[in-house]
């Protein structure tokens, strides 16, 4: 593996943690968020400043996770007040609010961002392995949550929160838990990114990033852990494969987002499900014929 492949693999791992975090909120619990990058940013900035202040790498990432999760909890409170499209726009606002605060504060690096973030103390391959292990951990965590009774209650909230209430589900607790867990995961991803890039800028955590993460979740099939992972790998690597047409990269990206929503709105997961069903059906026909 060359240095280029290693850094790509690291980035894929970070994005998987980030996307699975949003999948927790939007996929499992049905609360659409257009501001996920803000929590990614909170994790990154927190870890960056902690590391620059001399904190060891794990403590820096942990601090990023905790702070992102706490802010996420606060934003989760807004989801108790506003619903659906109102919530989507509110979370988008949270994203812009984060950017506005970071850009305007000299102490946070302003427009120029934060540079000279200390290395995590691992060489590149070791860091990649660490990131991929964490990605695997959060994958297992997501699968566990999905199977747990909390995940079951999330499903109910995503489907119809008023009915969930009548069935004893504490909707507020579900939403807050989903927001706290999902944004804490974004915080971890941010902390890992800060130590990986060693230079962060406000624009790394802007609206486009939020949309990119949302598209990873939506293209994968909202709520499907493996679908989200596959689409995250594809969407992270796609720009690299299409380097030769790098000028058309974003155009292609926009077209892909539209295309998937237009022709396969359930994403990759829905697509494979449909293919498998068709396969079973044709296999059944063959058996019947034979």
């Amino acid at each position: 593996m060359g240095i280029y492949e290693i850094s790509l693999a690291t980035l894929v791992g970070i994005n998987i943690i980030l996307a699975l975090g949003l999948n927790m909120i939007s996929g499992f619990c049905g609360q659409i968020s257009l501001g996920h990058a803000a929590f990614y940013g909170i994790g990154a900035y927190t870890a960056a400043f902690m590391a620059k202040a001399g904190a060891p790498f794990p403590a820096a990432v942990l601090a990023g996770m905790v702070l992102a999760g706490l802010v996420g909890l606060a934003v989760g409170l807004t989801s108790l007040r506003v619903r659906h499209d109102f919530l989507a726009i509110t979370t988008m606002g949270v994203g812009f609010l984060f950017l506005g605060v970071v850009r305007q504060q000299e102490i946070l690096g302003g427009e120029l961002g934060v540079s000279g973030i200390p290395s995590p103390g691992l060489e590149k391959t070791g860091y990649m392995v660490l990131v991929l292990i964490l990605a695997a951990f959060f994958t297992a965590f997501s699968l566990w949550i999905k199977r747990s009774w909390m995940g079951f209650a999330f499903e109910a909230v995503a489907d119809d929160e008023d009915t969930a209430r009548v069935l004893t589900v504490d909707v507020a607790a579900c939403k807050l838990t989903a927001f706290a867990m999902g944004t804490a995961m974004a915080g971890v991803a941010g902390g890992l990114y800060a130590s990986f890039a060693r230079f962060i800028m406000p624009d790394d955590f802007g609206f486009i990033t939020s949309i990119t993460v949302l598209s990873m979740v939506a293209v994968g099939g909202i709520g499907s852990v493996f679908g989200v992972i596959i689409s995250t790998v594809i969407l992270t690597l796609m720009p690299e494969f299409f380097r030769f047409i790098s000028d058309y990269k974003l155009l292609l990206y926009g077209a892909l987002l539209f295309g998937v929503m237009r022709f396969a709105p359930e994403g990759l997961a829905g697509f494979t499900r449909a293919v498998r069903k068709a396969g079973i059906r044709s296999a059944g026909k063959k058996e019947a014929a034979g």
Partner: protein
């Protein structure tokens, strides 16, 4: 006997409209109370005040001696209130079985940490299957709710409410939309459950079934309770007949 569900002085306004005007109702343990009245009389609103989805101007609600007036909906449900909706509200993304399993797991989703750490659903699935059998739709258990006929979904709502193991079962027009045979069957099932000891409050327009299965009848009209008592006596009450048959009847009687 001490009332199990005590609803006192419920007044509800929607905008300027008085939907319920100082309605009180007591339900004793083991009763089967049916509530009838013309459309717009306030029956559904009264139920929704009891479950906590409609905010009253004034009300006092006690369940099993405990004041639940200020509690949110999910806590009232935990204390033993189960409701089926007039317009069916199944979880459309789930199978029939999962709809009921979630309700059967009501004791598991109460605490965040416990709910996060528990994954085993087999016991609740078993129970859920029993409730589906009880209402007679067990053969469709693994099917998605989407595409099921109304009769099945109506019964699913009853099974789901029963799975909550409630103290009081509130049914909002459970028979509406069912054919005669289906309606009679579901009414029988509910009556049987009631004989088993569960307290039932049912809103229903199907007078035939109401008079056949319920043991007490309350009538709402125009936001007021106009009668309450033995079904036969209530149906002979001139005020009730007027509410049902309209003004001509009153004029003729006068």
């Amino acid at each position: 006997m001490k009332p199990l569900l005590e609803v006192k002085n419920v007044t509800v306004r929607f905008g300027g409209v008085l939907a319920l005007d100082d309605v009180s109702l007591e339900v004793r343990p083991g009763e089967f109370l049916s509530m009838i009245g013309p459309n717009g009389a306030g029956k559904t609103t009264l139920m929704r005040v009891v479950t906590g989805t409609v905010k009253p101007v004034s009300a006092r609600i006690r369940l099993d001696g405990r004041d639940i007036t200020m509690l949110p909906t999910h806590q009232r449900a935990r204390l033993g209130l189960a409701l089926t909706h007039q317009i069916v509200r199944p979880f459309r993304s789930m199978t029939l079985l999962d709809n009921v399993t979630l309700a059967a797991g009501h004791h598991r989703i109460g605490r965040v940490i416990r709910a996060l750490t528990a994954v085993d659903r087999s016991a609740e699935r078993e129970q859920a299957r029993k409730y589906l059998e009880l209402v007679g739709i067990a053969e469709a258990a693994e099917k998605s709710v989407l595409g099921r006929p109304l009769g099945v979904v109506k019964r699913l709502e009853v099974a789901r409410a029963l799975a909550l193991e409630p103290k009081v079962l509130l049914l909002d027009e459970p028979l509406a939309g069912l054919n005669t045979a289906e309606a009679a069957r579901l009414a029988d099932t509910v009556a049987e459950i009631n004989r088993g000891g569960l307290t039932v409050v049912m809103i229903e327009h199907n007078l035939g079934e109401v008079l056949r299965v319920s043991r007490r009848l309350a009538v709402l009209d125009n936001g007021r309770k106009i009668a309450d008592g033995d079904p036969g006596a209530v149906m002979r009450d001139p005020a009730v007949r007027a509410a049902y048959l309209g003004k001509e009847y009153q004029d003729a009687a006068a």
